[in-house]
Symmetry: C2
């Protein structure tokens, strides 16, 4: 097994940058997706008008803090790791909910809220009876993240900098993202990236490939994302393409489990199941939580993968992306 270099204890295990989003979970059926031309399992960006239109036509919802990187960092805190989040909310009720939820699990979060402009970002998540989620995101205040908001001191104090691909969808957040990646690299920290969504990869393929080659040590992707990144026919071909692109590549495959690639070797990790599939929201985010918690506590890659699988397997048995039960005791009982 690889011995990772993150052995020197720093204040933060992982610091991440992402869109600060409140999720609105709505149970719906396939005909709703068809009516609104939504592609199941995808994330679309919508403007305020479209967000309101979709919301008005939706059934009753449940609101819970979300955002891909924010979910991952919350999960790391819930596992007992030390995590920090950088992202922008507005000073409004949804912003207060986001701020409360992430701080309440012990994640460091100090990015000042926007005092004017658009409201806190919202993601309408339509959960179909098969447990699959389809997302429509109104980015709102989260796009106002600028490089000067970055707390480079906390980025340099973290063993791993974690970035979500979704940030690529707005230029100021992308600039902040690149500035942070460079700061982390210059301090010899690891940089991890989650590709987020296959359509997001489609929109930004070339710049993602460039970023991965130059600045990424740990890459998280699911099957669709990695196939899209390399424009392959299937997962097996994508695995061959990906193998030298960075130090560690963790590829998630839903019920099939995951594959971790390191130094040309592929490790297969089984999926864990803890009950009926209710909602896949947050599965990839929580896989990254478990993996990075293992990685920053110097576990073997096999154990990192298992921790990821356990966290992902648990979050899909509930509604919403922030685990409602103790991840720490789950890991202790299953590793």
């Amino acid at each position: 097994m690889m011995k990772n270099e993150a052995t020197e204890k720093r204040f933060f295990d992982v610091v991440g940058i992402g869109n600060a989003i409140v999720d609105v979970l709505v149970k719906t059926d396939d005909s709703f997706l068809a009516k609104h031309s939504l592609i199941k399992g995808s994330m679309s960006l919508v403007d305020q008008k479209k967000a309101e239109e979709l919301y008005n036509e939706s059934g009753p919802g449940m609101e819970t803090s979300g955002g891909s990187a924010a979910n991952t960092l919350s999960g790391i805190s819930q596992l007992g790791g030390s995590a920090g989040f950088i992202g922008r909310v507005k000073e409004d009720q949804l912003g207060a909910i986001f701020t409360h939820d992430i701080k309440s699990v012990g994640t460091y979060f100090r990015t000042p809220p926007a005092l004017d402009g658009p409201s806190t970002a919202r993601c309408l998540i339509f959960v179909t009876p098969d447990g699959e989620r389809t997302m429509c995101t109104y980015l709102g205040a989260s796009v106002q993240l600028e490089p000067e908001d970055l707390e480079l001191s906390i980025v340099k104090e973290a063993n791993v900098l974690y970035l979500e691909g979704y940030l690529w969808d707005n230029s100021s957040a992308k600039r902040a993202f690149l500035a942070a990646a460079e700061a982390a690299r210059s301090s010899k920290r690891k940089v991890a990236l989650s590709l987020s969504d296959s359509f997001c990869v489609d929109r930004h393929r070339e710049s993602f490939l460039d970023l991965i080659e130059k600045n990424v040590d740990i890459l998280f992707a699911n099957e669709n994302e990695i196939i899209s990144l390399f424009q392959c026919q299937d997962f097996e071909t994508a695995i061959k393409e990906v193998k030298d692109c960075c130090e560690v590549i963790a590829l998630t495959r839903g019920k099939t489990g995951s594959v971790i690639i390191h130094e040309g070797e592929a490790l297969t990790i089984p999926a864990f199941s803890f009950g009926e599939l209710v909602d896949t929201t947050g599965a990839g985010d929580l896989y990254a939580s478990g993996f990075l918690y293992g990685y920053t506590t110097n576990k073997s890659l096999l154990e990192c993968g298992k921790m990821g699988s356990i966290c992902a397997g648990k979050v899909v048995t509930q509604l919403g992306p922030r685990p409602q039960s103790s991840l720490r005791s789950l890991i202790i009982n299953h590793i």
Copy 2:
């Protein structure tokens, strides 16, 4: 079986008045309740400062529309009944969530929001591992309900006027409540009351007894509430005390089911179970939904009670008081 008088079809089956509240559901443990001197299963009123203090010390939450009467009316709409709600939110993000959720199931809701003053009401609901809920309510904008906000036309157009006991905790809502009860009685409509909480009964025992005697046709209460109302030693004694106080009395007993009292006769209704107990929030409210849906569709009292038991049995298997799955198909399959 009694033939109820609600046979003439009017526009609304049930119109209700209640506090318009957004719930913040937080999973917690018994030590949190002990630390904050909260009595398990009860509802306490808190001011804004106390609400913020408790929230700051709570874990991550999920937000969902709540409010006792609002839950009942949403449930009636989900069953296919025609329901209207009267209650006050503020024009803020939580108010928009409340308004969306209740309208999205088809409940009529047109009370204009408050434009200034305190924010939309919030109820912190601490759910312990046994599934029991303990509530701390900040009434916020909901106390601004005045008699002039009442749409007496819709009250007169409803077969049943439904009132929650919690309204008794603020004087303007209480005045609105009494005005509505009188309007309903003068139009020969039925008036239903839910006692809401044993501590609420303690605070207002005399005026509840007076109200029930003069203005209530259908009374909903759980064991603790009815024992508190008559200051009895046990449920059996309370049943004897209650029997002539109004036309129909529905007494819920959790896992033991419910007892319906009419013309001196007591009908015993079993509880229904649809899986593991997750959260008792909304159990009493949804019992009233099922019962009143049956009552306004001219079902026998035995069937009304069964419908109540089914709706209550379903809502306790999920987090939050608004059922996420179809109540209508559940009733069709179980009656």
